[in-house]
Amino acid sequence: MPPSPGPGRRQLLQAGLASAGQLLLGGCALNDLGPGVAGASRPLNERLEAWLQSRGPIPEFRRDQVEPQRLLVNNFQAVPQIDPASFRLSVEGLVHRPLSLSLADLAALPQREMVIRHVCVEGWAAIVAWGGVRLADVLALAGVSPLAGYLAFDSADGYFETWDRPTALHPQTLLVSRMNGAPLPAANGAPLRLATPLKLGYKQSKWVTGIRLLASLDPLRRGTWEDQGYEWFAGL
């Protein structure tokens, strides 16, 4: 006698095959469960990501490895018109000295360039040379309160982002005004955008006009795309 599977096991098998069939013939019924499965898996994923990133700087590429043709442009709205002469970057919230910096103020800070891989949530990536000031230097000017665990970045086009404090203070997180050795093009976020090797592209706001230091996050306003379902930490 071949030992046949018991009824319980057979039912289980049938249920499994049925759900597999449903998956193949249109996961539509399962699509709504996406936020649920993400809620179950993301806290652990994000803790692992933060831990991985706490282990020193990310190796950079050589300048001759940049791939200008691979860098695609994704915009939330139309490219905003910004007058460089009247442009100001505000730094407010939980800081000792709120700031309003002109582009000349930023240019007076130590400049650095990093050649990193810019990775888009869509799956493409490009090696880019970003030039600008360390976000940590700007934040040091403002004097960040120890209570400020998060940062919010407001952009001229209405896009907004929120970040964790350690990534913002990372030495490879820059407020950039130059790309691949030339002034940053308007489509790529001129006059000022975020750049870091540590997070996906949608975290790296273009046309940044304001930085707010926060003690906590509003769970309903964590970022333009995050509120639609993208990962908040989005570590690379």
């Binding site: 998956l23 996406g34 499965v37 993400a38 898996s41 990193i116 690379l236």
Partner: protein, 193 residues
């Protein structure tokens, strides 16, 4: 042979459990992965051909990522424990070089069939490991810069990760057909049920 072996056609409980879990997890990983693929096709980029909705899971890029990165941990755990157990308990059943020679030289058809089957299911484990490693290299290219570096450039990395899907589809089909020819429905059933 003196060592006690389970009756022919009956797989240990852990093999059946890992098989069943793996089928479910692979369906989730493939369908959500193809959903992510559609946001920027590996071949052709924004002008590339996208895949039809019945193959996809998630509904949009964000939904596909939710499923893909929820499934990956379970997939990795399942595969890792499975390979560890196989190497420890049943490594004699994994393919070895003499399978290639018996495939070439043996006159006995059952023996050749068994050899080719061992090669097929061992290759499945290698392809699944490659899917995991290339996925990790793409998911955390900054933290695992050394792993991403092993694949050369980004397009190669994406291509390798994608290629594991048709490779697994072909191998799964061969695995099913060969199991059928070796042990019939009884063997197929004993693999998952």
């Amino acid at each position: 042979m003196q060592t006690p072996t389970p009756p022919r056609g009956i797989q240990p409980l852990w093999t059946r459990a890992f098989h069943a879990l793996d089928i479910a997890l692979l369906l989730v990983m493939v369908s959500s992965g193809l959903q992510i693929y559609n946001a920027n096709p590996v071949f052709g980029g924004r002008e590339g051909m996208t895949l039809p909705a019945p193959l996809l899971l998630g509904g949009w890029l964000g939904g596909g990522r939710q499923w893909h990165f929820a499934g990956m941990g379970l997939f990795a755990l399942n595969l890792g424990i499975w390979i560890a157990l196989l190497l420890r308990q049943r490594h004699r059943r994994l393919a070895a070089l003499d399978d290639v020679s018996s495939l070439r030289a043996s006159q006995s058809q059952p023996r050749r069939r068994l050899a080719s089957h061992r090669l097929v299911y061992t290759a499945m484990l290698i392809v699944l490991s490659l899917a995991l490693l290339s996925g990790l290299a793409m998911y955390k290219p900054a933290s695992f810069w050394w792993l991403s570096g092993c694949f050369g450039n980004w397009q190669t990395l994406r291509t390798v990760h994608f290629a594991t899907v048709p490779a697994m589809a072909a191998l799964t089909l061969s695995h099913g057909v060969l199991s059928w020819r070796i042990g019939g429905l009884r063997l197929l059933r004993s693999m998952v049920g």
